[in-house]
């Protein structure tokens, strides 16, 4: 029970300080899940996030379910997700009910312009960390460069990037396995 409460509260905190899409939860996940609670390694988080890209639903929710499941099974998956969405439920409904002009208030605009700058800095740091975990050799550098350029220039859906990189990963591994078999 104490474990589940801790899981809920941790994801509540992550949900309350994620501003933007799934990418913006990475700094919070790295800090809370990897460093503080040690519920998952950097590599596992990267794997979960990758799966979250190509499975249905909101990426942040998918990642939460994954970590919750790993920690406490099916119930953990539900509890982590509940924690992640609770702040949104509360905050959005309060705003929808009482502050319909919220997004247009001057100080809100200024605060969020500031928050976006912080998110930019934090996500850059998250990318550097992910690079150290996920890009280990020349193949990794090439896949990164290809995925980056294709997304930047052609603005393709992340799903194609995911499918392409899975294909490359398997093809390279098969070639290597065959190379070793021949030696």
């Amino acid at each position: 029970m104490k474990d589940l409460l801790e899981l809920y509260l941790t994801f509540f905190k992550i949900g309350a300080f994620t501003f933007g899409g799934g990418y913006s939860m990475m700094p919070m996940i790295q800090k809370e899940i990897v460093e503080k609670h040690k519920w998952a390694t950097d590599e596992e988080v990267l794997n979960y996030y990758a799966v979250g890209q190509c499975t249905p639903g909101v990426i942040a929710v998918n990642t939460s379910t994954f970590i919750g499941y790993k920690r406490r099974g099916v119930l953990g998956g539900f509890v982590a997700t509940a924690g992640m969405i609770t702040p949104s439920l509360i905050i959005i409904m309060v705003i929808a009910a009482f502050l319909s002009n919220f997004a247009h208030l001057e100080f809100v605009k200024h605060a969020f312009a500031g928050i976006r700058v912080a998110v930019a800095a934090l996500v850059i740091q998250a990318v550097v960390k992910m690079w150290k975990t996920g890009v280990k050799d020349a193949v990794g550098v090439s896949v990164f460069a290809a995925a980056f350029l294709v997304s930047l220039i052609f603005n393709v859906s992340p799903i194609y990037v995911v499918i392409g990189s899975v294909a490359v990963g398997i093809a390279i591994s098969l070639l290597r396995a065959r190379g070793e078999g021949n030696e």
Partner: protein
């Protein structure tokens, strides 16, 4: 329409959205536009405002938008029903995938797939950071309008950004401190 029937519709629509919107919160947008056209819950103009609110409040954008939409459709219960319906398919799918991965984590193909995926996902987040850099510290519109290279960067944002990057990399503070600090600075500097 009775409110129970509305709630059932809300649940069905958001379950469908959660099941078929692949690729993150903004992938839910086409589904919401479709709902705006089909139901009297909210119209496209309100939707634009809902997106603005979802982007400037804590929480994943997809979850925020579904809560807002559900609230418009059926009050507090509507908001809870819509968001729970939205996340239910992912929770089920992820639990199945997680079970599969537990079993096959040492499988050759699974390992090879992740070997290719990890750098690709790193690139996707790098792209996301480029996008937020563009909207947070660049002011390209003013630059193109005036042609003055002084306007490439939004100077006030840069005043926050440069020390913040230094602090983030040097002392690795908790992201919460950075976010609150930057919000306060944003208000003080009228960013």
């Amino acid at each position: 329409m009775s409110s129970l029937a509305t709630l059932a519709l809300v649940a069905a629509e958001f379950f469908k959205t959660g099941l078929f919107a692949v690729g993150g919160g903004l992938a839910t947008l086409p589904f919401l536009y479709n709902m705006a056209d089909k139901y009297p819950w909210f119209d496209r103009t309100q939707l634009a405002d809902m997106i603005a609110v979802s982007e400037s409040t804590p929480g994943p954008i997809g979850v925020n938008m579904s809560t807002y939409a559900g609230f418009n459709a059926g009050g507090i219960i509507g908001g809870i029903v819509s968001t729970c319906s939205l996340v239910l398919p992912s929770v089920i799918v992820i639990i199945i995938v997680a079970k599969f991965l537990d079993k096959f984590s040492e499988n050759f193909y699974v390992k090879s797939a992740f070997y290719g995926l990890r750098p690709a996902v790193t690139a996707l987040i790098a792209i996301a950071s480029v996008e937020i850099l563009k909207i947070s510290i660049l002011s390209l519109d003013t630059f193109f309008a005036t042609g003055n290279p002084l306007f490439i960067f939004n100077l006030k944002s840069l005043i926050i950004f440069v020390p913040l990057v230094f602090v983030v990399f040097k002392w690795k503070p908790h992201p919460i401190f950075c976010i609150i600090g930057a919000a306060v600075l944003g208000i003080i500097l009228k960013l």
